[in-house]
Every structure is written in structure tokens, then in C-alpha cells.
């Protein structure tokens, strides 16, 4: 497939948005992540946010102009290899207690999809999910490609507090809440593992390109791995 082309637009007085177009979603996402890797924050670039098909570049407009930075981004794009190596991808195994108090929305999600709760769990555990990017709150792994025909709706009323480790679905996406926070996605399970450790650098051990596999566990086995940090199982 042809590599994406880029549309770079101003996003206020201190940011640019670089959007990858004209290629498949997988290619655009990989190109966006690679561009972010190549741009690493420095004195001029303050922050980067790389998602599916776009990269937000925040900069100090006292140090560099929009034009200078746009040209610098284009130069970085031009310097990318034409046949880039695949993104580094490591596998993580995530034990999850599905349903019950850990996943209060599982029955409603199953009903919405017209299948049993066990079918939902089996489908989710039958494949790996790529980490597309780290989002809010606190480095949440944004996973996508849920194996259901129809998108899953959000909660009519977002919850004020979702427990850390909660596994949630929305649309064709999945996420694990790393910390206690408000949330509007549908909760189907919860992992006893700890995702974020602010005493560590980086706070979370996974990165875009890694793969998550959910493994169902019995609530009785919660304490076996409670509060352990998520670990790579296959580099």
C-alpha cells in the first residue's frame, strides 16, 4: 500500500496537527507513531500526542515559528525510510475477572450484542489487541479491534469513579483504566494487575505497538496477582 501523505495544519498559536491520509488505517497509525518517535520533545517541541491518524505537535511559539516547525516536520517525514521496520511489539498477558461486581455492564453489553456473556468473554479472549496509543487517564492503553459486528454504546450516564484495572468497551475500542477516575465506557471486567507506577520511569511498561491478550480468571484467584505490575510475556 502507498505510504500516507501528510496534511499539516495550525492548531492555535502553539501547536500543529499533522494528519496522515491516503493510506489504510494500519499504515497511517504506524506512520504517525514513527513520526512521533523521530520528533522526540526537545527545546522547541514541548509535547507530542500520537493517535490513530494524527500527531499533535506542541511547541514554544516564542522559540520557533509555525512555518519553521512545519518545514522541520516535513524534513523528518522525508528522512523516514521508505520501507520502515515494523514497530517494536511485545505481548502482555492480562488476567481479567469478567462480569459480576468487576464488570457490572457485561450483562447489558451481551444483551445489546444479542449473544451470551460467555460469548462476549470468549470473543475478547480469542485474540490479541494492539495498543494504539496511551491516553487519558494516566497512560491508559487504548486498544481497538473488538471482534463484534456492531459498535458498543457508551454509558447513558458516565460514572463518577471507575476502579483501577477496570476493562471497558466503547465502539470497537477497549481500554483498561490504570487509575481510579471518572469514565463513560462500559465496564465488563477488571484485572488485579497494576498498570501504572509513578515511582517508575516510564510510569507504564507498555507502549504503542505492544499487544494485550485478556485471560479469564476466577474471582477466587484475584489475590494471586493482585497489585503486581503488568509484565511482558513475549518480547
Amino acid at each position: 500500500m502507498a505510504p500516507p501523505t501528510w496534511q499539516i495544519t495550525d492548531f492555535g498559536d502553539s501547536a500543529l496537527l499533522a494528519k496522515a491520509v491516503g493510506s489504510g488505517p494500519e499504515h497511517c497509525w504506524q506512520a504517525v507513531q514513527r513520526l512521533a518517535d523521530a520528533l522526540e520533545p526537545d527545546d522547541r517541541v514541548i509535547d507530542l500526542v500520537a493517535t490513530y491518524d494524527s500527531l499533535l505537535v506542541e511547541f514554544d511559539c516564542d522559540e520557533v515559528t509555525h512555518t519553521e516547525l512545519t518545514e522541520a516536520v516535513h524534513r523528518t517525514i522525508a528522512a523516514q525510510p521508505t520501507t520502515p521496520a515494523p514497530l517494536r511489539s511485545r505481548a502482555f498477558r492480562i488476567p481479567v475477572v469478567f462480569g459480576g461486581s468487576c464488570g457490572p455492564d457485561l450483562p447489558a453489553v451481551a444483551e445489546e450484542l444479542g449473544i451470551t456473556e460467555q460469548d462476549v468473554v470468549d470473543a475478547l479472549c480469542s485474540r490479541e489487541f494492539p495498543v494504539r496509543f496511551l491516553g487519558a487517564p494516566a497512560g491508559a492503553p487504548m486498544l481497538d479491534g473488538t471482534p463484534f459486528a456492531q459498535p458498543i454504546g457508551r454509558c447513558a450516564q458516565p460514572r463518577v469513579a471507575v476502579e483501577p484495572g477496570s476493562v471497558a468497551l466503547s465502539g470497537h475500542q477497549a481500554v483498561i483504566y490504570p487509575v481510579r477516575s471518572p469514565g463513560g465506557w462500559r465496564l465488563i471486567g477488571r484485572t488485579p494487575l497494576k498498570l501504572v507506577d509513578i515511582a517508575d520511569e516510564p510510569y507504564v511498561p507498555y507502549q504503542p505497538g505492544d499487544r494485550f491478550r485478556f485471560v479469564p480468571i476466577d474471582a477466587d484467584h484475584w489475590s494471586d496477582c493482585a497489585a503486581q505490575i503488568v509484565e511482558v510475556v513475549d518480547a
Binding site: 495544519t9 495550525d10 492548531f11 492555535g12 498559536d13 502553539s14 501547536a15 496537527l17 512521533a36 520533545p41 514541548i46 509535547d47 507530542l48 500526542v49 500520537a50 493517535t51 490513530y52 491518524d53 494524527s54 500527531l55 499533535l56 506542541e58 511559539c61 516564542d62 515559528t65 509555525h66 496509543f133 496511551l134 491516553g135 487519558a136 487517564p137 494516566a138 497512560g139 491508559a140 487504548m142 487509575v179 477516575s181 501504572v196 509513578i198 520511569e201 516510564p202 510510569y203 507504564v204
Partner: protein
């Protein structure tokens, strides 16, 4: 030699700085002082680096006592400042003698005051910043009776005539009108709102009580959108004016989630973001359109004024034998 300041009345106060930069790609927002300009000036006025830890006081009164001589400054929203029983000036350095209590009354016409102290305030940092982040569970909220550790080499200076040193360094306080004018540039999705620019420029919006450090919610006319297509999640800067399907505009603040999926009609300028950080529920605002070039020019001019102020402070402090680290 570390010493301690005593918090006599905390209200809602926390130790903060200019924020936690460079972690947005890892899903961590910048946070830090809501009014970056006032925080930077407070630090410059006591000879500190702009990004030094300082105290952010939100909507309430605050009082601090010292048993050693300290040099402090108070900036931000207009508030009555008293040193024991005498009035103190905001936006200038204030010399406190041992046994003094400085009180900052609840602000009028804005939301947040900043109190900086010459030297280094002790505060645990995460990734180089002490800024509170409620989701990461980090930050130092101050409680009445708490102590604040301070390392400072400040020695008292004395005015030969007036006894009390009086500074006149000329820092420029921002204005806090109601309604407040918020400068914006076009957002990336302006084309989806054919009447959006005219509507935003002519309407008055009210800050609703559900506003916080993540986002301000604004009640007022909602611009009609041509498309109903979902926007794929993408990185969104602080200051983005989002148009969600609900009845309120959402203006993102420094604690924002780093990605969002609502169309962005406009983006508040760097300077306007500080004004947004001072708006309280019930206050009104109007939008005014600027070009990106104008917004950049205004930001650069203000940064130049800050550098000039920092140089002036260092010149004066050098003459008085006060150490200065504003460079």
C-alpha cells in the same frame, strides 16, 4: 539550612509550578498553575526561576507565618494582602520579618492568587514537576496547620529612610473584567461550522459550575455543525474550544485528557489561557478572533516583557545583595 513556614489558614491551596511537560504522549496532561503568567511573575519578583514551586490559592483566603526573614510576592486575581496589620502590595516583592503573618484575602474579580517565596520550597516532584495531578494521585495540598519547608539564603534588607523596603519593579498585572474577552484563533474544524465564527464572536457565554481544572463548560448559543460524523480521537491542546453534542461548549484547561474526539471550533491563545484559568463559575466571557500571527506576536511581546522584568529584578537584587536566579 531548611526552615519551615507555617500555614495558618489554608483554604484551597496547593504547591504547584508551571507543569509537567513532555509526557503528553504517555497520556499525562501538563497541569501546573492555571494562570501561568501570574505564577511566572510571582517567581520572578522574588528572584526565583519562573518554574520554581510556589503556592496556588483558589477562591479562598490564605495565611502563612514565618519565624525567619523571607521575601515573598503575591500575584494573580485582585485580593487584599496584609502583613500583620499593614497592607501589602500585590505584584511587588514584600519583605517579611520574623514573627510575621501574611494574609491573602479571598480574591475579588478572579479565581486564583499565587504566593512565591525567595528560595526553594520543598515539594516532592514526579517527572521533574511538583504540580498536582488528581489522576496520578500526586501533589501537595496545603492544610491549616501544615508546614512548608523552605531553603533560602535571603537576608533582610532595609530601606535607609522608610525602614521598610519598598520595591517598585513595575510588573504588569493583567486585568480581570467581567465579561472577560478571550482571544481565539480558528480551530481545525471551523469549516464544519459555517456560522460558527460569527456566532462565537457575537455571543456572551457564562462559565457553569461544572467547570474545573480539566475543562470550563460554557452556557450560551451552540454553533450548528454541518457534519454529524464522529471525529477520530486525536491530540488536543490546552485552550481547545470543543463543541460536544450537549448544550455547553467545553474549553480545555491544563488538566485535560490529552486526546478527545469532539470537533474543535476555536483555540484560545496562550495569553487567553491564563485569563481562562482565572474565570469562576457564573462569570461571563466573549470571544474575539485573532490571526495565528497576531496571537504569536502578542505572546512573544509578553515573553519579552517577562525577560525585561527578570533583568530588572536581578539588577535591583544585586544592588541589595539578594541572590537572583531568574535567568
Amino acid at each position: 539550612m531548611p526552615e519551615e513556614l507555617q500555614v495558618r489558614q489554608a483554604g484551597i491551596a496547593a504547591i504547584t509550578d508551571l507543569g509537567r511537560r513532555g509526557l503528553a504522549r504517555r497520556g499525562v496532561p501538563v497541569n501546573g498553575a492555571a494562570d501561568q503568567y501570574s505564577a511566572a511573575v510571582a517567581n520572578i519578583l522574588v528572584g526565583n526561576p519562573r518554574s520554581a514551586p510556589l503556592i496556588e490559592i483558589t477562591a479562598t483566603g490564605f495565611a502563612l507565618s514565618t519565624t525567619r526573614p523571607v521575601l515573598v510576592s503575591v500575584t494573580g486575581a485582585p485580593a487584599e494582602v496584609t502583613i500583620n496589620d499593614r497592607l501589602g502590595r500585590m505584584w511587588e516583592p514584600l519583605c517579611l520579618e520574623p514573627g510575621t503573618t501574611i494574609r491573602v484575602a479571598a480574591p475579588t474579580g478572579g479565581l486564583r492568587c499565587y504566593l512565591a517565596v525567595h528560595g526553594t520550597i520543598d515539594a516532592p516532584t514526579v517527572s521533574g514537576s511538583c504540580a498536582p495531578d488528581s489522576l496520578l494521585g500526586v501533589g501537595t495540598q496545603l492544610a491549616t496547620g501544615a508546614t512548608v519547608g523552605l531553603r533560602s539564603d535571603y537576608r533582610p534588607v532595609d530601606h535607609p529612610v522608610f525602614r521598610h523596603p519598598l520595591f517598585c519593579l513595575g510588573a504588569a498585572p493583567p486585568r480581570f473584567p467581567d465579561p472577560c474577552t478571550i482571544d481565539v484563533t480558528d480551530g481545525p474544524d471551523i469549516a464544519e461550522f459555517p456560522t460558527g465564527r460569527e456566532l462565537l464572536a457575537s455571543a456572551t457565554y457564562a462559565v457553569t459550575p461544572r467547570s474545573n481544572h480539566i475543562g470550563l463548560r460554557l452556557a450560551g448559543p451552540m454553533p450548528p455543525r454541518l457534519s454529524s460524523a464522529e471525529v477520530l480521537s486525536r491530540g488536543i491542546p490546552v485552550g481547545a474550544v470543543e463543541v460536544p453534542p450537549s448544550e455547553e461548549l467545553l474549553v480545555l484547561q491544563r488538566g485535560r485528557p490529552v486526546t478527545a474526539g469532539y470537533p474543535v471550533i476555536a483555540v484560545a491563545t496562550k495569553i487567553a489561557q491564563d485569563a481562562l484559568g482565572q474565570l469562576r463559575p457564573g462569570q461571563h466571557l466573549r470571544f474575539r478572533y485573532r490571526t495565528v500571527a497576531d496571537a504569536v506576536a502578542m505572546h512573544r511581546a509578553r515573553q519579552h516583557r517577562l525577560r525585561t522584568l527578570a533583568n530588572r529584578v536581578c539588577t535591583v537584587f544585586a544592588a541589595l545583595g539578594i541572590s537572583c536566579r531568574t535567568a
